[in-house]
Amino acid sequence: MINTALALLCAFSSAGMISTDQVEAKDVAAPPEDILSGRVCLPDPADSSTSSWTALLPHDDIAAQLEHLVPGPGKSMVAVLADNAEAWQLELRSQPGLKSEPSRFTGVDALVPGAVARTLTLPPDADLVQILVKDPGTGGAGWILLADGQDDLILKTHLDTRSTLLGSSVGLHATLLGGELLEGTVRLRGPLGQEQLVPLQVDGPDRVASFTPDQLGDWTVHTVVRARDSRGIERLRTTQQIMRVVRPELTFAGDVVLKQSANGRVDLDIPVSLLAEDETTGPRRVAIGCEIWGRDASGVEVPVCWAARMHQLPGNGGPSSCSLRFDPNWITLAGVDPASLSLRALRAHTSEGFVLLAHDAAPDSLIDGVITPDIASTRVVSQAMLGGRSGQVVSGSTPPEQGLLSPGGHVLLISHGYCTDLFPWRTDDFSGDVELFEDYGANVSHDTFALQFEARGRSYKSMGIAGHSQGGNAAAHLYTFYWSALDWPTGERRIQGVGVPWQGTALAGNAAVLGEVFGIGCGTNYDMTYEASAAWLSFIPSWVREDVWFWTTSFTDGWFYDYCQIVTDVLLSDPDDGTVERYAGQLDGANNGGHKTGWCHTRLMRDPPQCKDPDRNVELSAEAAR
């Protein structure tokens, strides 16, 4: 019997085995259309920039601005974010003809669990207001979030590389829309709390700050600019991002060899050079992907397919190899000469955060006898071609003397998302075989979350997943990269997600910065940043997306100052659900179940939590594949 329990490993070693040793990685493939559409191509870092029309700063750094503030026509709000926000004074100084509601307390669990802010909304388009903010004198750190209503003055920032590697230079690019960027600084705070300030320098149309990270881990990148809007009024704008710095664990190290494997599939043997595992190393898994191209009968280069796989790296360093594998039927379908095959966009990413470790736009390759099947035998793309099963290489093992396994049914697994203290779904709305996934207070990557789903699925023949928030990302990740009970359900909808940050959320970066104020809470989650989400999505092919149904919600939009959560609202682009913007909750190529107003991301927001919507929940339950 063939035992492929070690299938996660690169072929060379069984060292470095982790608790996921029984997990079997898929030989993922995507059709040529996914290459041509850019779906499995790594997007430009500028395409996942962070935008902000607000300023988040320590009180001392923004106090002067609050003394003489000219609100713009949009939403205007000031929030004090402090451990002891209740003790802070926040009010609009009495001015003739100006009325304001008193400041209020609000929980900002969406940013930091348990954190409280004092907030004050401002009258729009007032000529000039003075805001009194006074700390209680107890020495607690206080930060101010200022949304000044000039929402067309927008700061956009992005890192110029997806390879944020220890000791390698990184540039932060800043551009300002709707005004003039006067000056700016990037405040970097390393994982050990060390800070450095780097001024933004003029670089063509952009301002750029360059720096070289010298610590592994998550850095907060806080860009602060002074800008002048179209009316000539000076304003502050900031963005808050996370930068994950990793070791260059893997580099590509030679020609890739394409050869036919014993089971008839085509192997890409990729030489790599590895750093040895050390105490700073996280999960030694990497996602490797590559485009395969060939020349058709008229000599034109056309895409054949895209291949990818999650690999477990061994603990030892030095020369080694990893492999990708694809079905030769792709070559037949593309109508290309096997001798003309070439590779493009070979890349390796960390499994957590999808930081780019290595990239080769056009790797050299050698072809060692690839035979394609008879063209008449292949007319359609089969699931086996997409997920790596040809029907000839399935592992098998003699089962134990059969006792009846338990429970072993077909279930719908309903899951919460990131950092949850209560189960979000109204379980009474679900019927049939339903199981709950509960891991409260957890802050894990999509990969770890997915592997937890996988482990849970071993108790069932098959499962569908309805995930809230990050639970949706994790389900799609599992279905893409690993074999599990999620591959076997029957029924309409394999993966259903509500309020899923498919394209990330600005709150990930903001929460990281506010960790300085409130402590780490559940900790930063780099996977849910815009940057990491874009890199992750470039590994999610169409066939996975076609099995995903998603829904978004937002606050009830009336005539007043509306929001789901008054603080996070100004950190997100409207409409949003208090955590996920409507646009960022879209998964291109998936099934859009619709957008509904009057529902917010979680409890403690202005409208009811989206997972309590009985109409949708009943639908999720009824339509779920199990």
């Binding site: 492929t4 029984q22 079997e24 086996a384 997920g387 000839q392 399935v394 089962p399 009846l404 029957t490």
Partner: protein, 249 residues
Amino acid sequence: MTLKTYGFCVLPLVLSATSVGEGLDACSTSGFVIPDGSSSGSTAVFEIPGGSDTQVVLGARLELEIEHPWVGDLVVRLIAPDGTTSVDLLDRVGMVPAGFPGPFGCGGDNILASLEDDALEAADETCTIDGSPVLAGSLRPQQSLSGFIGVNPSGIWQLQISDRQSGDQGSFISACLRLEVAPDCNGDGVPDDCSCQGDLDGDGEVGGSDLARLLSVWGTNDVEGDLDGDGFVGGADLSSLLGNWGLCN
């Protein structure tokens, strides 16, 4: 139609058995529901009638059709008429601790396959995510059908089908047992050239020297002289020798 009970379930069966050259076929075409989540299961039977000559099995294959939404639930075992010789044809195909197909075996639908030893693909390694029937064509069984070589084919063959995991139920549709057989005149499990029974000295002729040799072991349990395999050299053996007197064919 006959109604038979074989210790598992009471099943209606339609049986037929025909001798085709050196082959014997027996089919069971009356379907039944396979009890879900039961280690005992149900049994289909094939009756191979006994002929004038004793026979021995040289080879076997089973053509099997089952409708089941999760074929990894199934254990299929074929038992020879002697009641002790058995071969596990399918044993929860695709069961692995995790990964693919998974800890509950292959989740594909249906079986329409010929289980035979010389098939290129093993049934246990054939599962696909989207094939239906998922076990199709010519497949190697879990255990080799060579386990039946040498058994007497005559009598009732039992095909035990059990569904070891609850939650998915299926039905047995039909099965045909194809046996390759040869004469075994002396019942020792080894094929014999029965037309020359009595040619004890192997000279191609049943004659006086053979008669003398048989008489020399008269009344004993000599294996060579015991032509009918009853454990005793006696009148029946003498009668058989005389019946074949002359040149062998």
